[in-house]
């Protein structure tokens, strides 16, 4: 189970292939990739700040929870920080399980927790000013289903 918190871009395809190729007992691989979304063409860049000491341990704690709840063969989290531009991949999650229900549920769980419990903060740099992205009530609410 690999966690990478990095400024460099990652190659979704290469990561997906390496993750799938490493599996020997899994029948199902799910990936989620978050892309920088440009709402209406006004985004110049997105800046992602994080809490270096805490980030990786918070992500590992979330992964440990997922492993405890579902029958997983493997999991991967890559999350970038720093400056990104529109449509760049921000982060990805991959899960591998014998059966698809576990792989899907664990990937959704990881995403819901990464959204609201891993110490990252997004700032949208627009053509007319910068603004911190506000946490959404629905993201906090999403945690209650687990």
């Amino acid at each position: 189970m690999r966690v990478s918190v990095q400024t460099d871009p990652f190659d979704l395809g290469a990561e997906s292939n390496a993750f799938a190729a490493a599996q020997t007992t899994a029948g199902a691989v799910v990936t989620f990739t978050g892309l920088v979304r440009d709402n209406g063409g006004t985004l110049a860049a997105m800046e992602i700040e994080h809490y270096p000491g805490m980030t990786e341990r918070a992500i590992r704690a979330i992964m440990d929870q997922a492993v405890g709840r579902w029958s997983l063969e493997d999991a991967l989290v890559i999350h970038r920080h720093g400056r990104l531009t529109a449509q760049e991949p921000i982060m990805m999650v991959a899960t591998a399980a014998r059966h698809r229900a576990d792989a899907f549920a664990a990937a959704e769980f990881l995403m819901d927790y990464l959204k609201s419990r891993a110490p990252f903060w997004k700032k949208e740099i627009g053509t007319d000013g910068a603004e911190w992205v506000a946490a959404k009530a629905e993201d906090e609410a999403a945690l209650t289903r687990w």
């Binding site: 000491g53 805490m54 921000i90 609201s116 891993a118 110490p119 903060w121 700032k123």
Partner: protein
Amino acid sequence: MIDVLYFAWVRERIGLPRERLETSAVTVAALVDELRAREERYEAAFADLSSLRVALDQELANFDAPLAGVREVAFFPPMTGG
């Protein structure tokens, strides 16, 4: 002595990413009260605790948590990762 870290708009409002403080506060809430009393920029950052989160030694905590033995306190808005 305790390390206090600020992230995102909390960092921007206070104007620095971290500082080292002497405090006699026994809870996070008491530390926040000390900080708010210092200067207007702290008052601005801590005006609405419901929009803030706190981590003690890199674990999420509550504002009524005790500070005994804690070396690092971090204040930040709700996370927006993923």
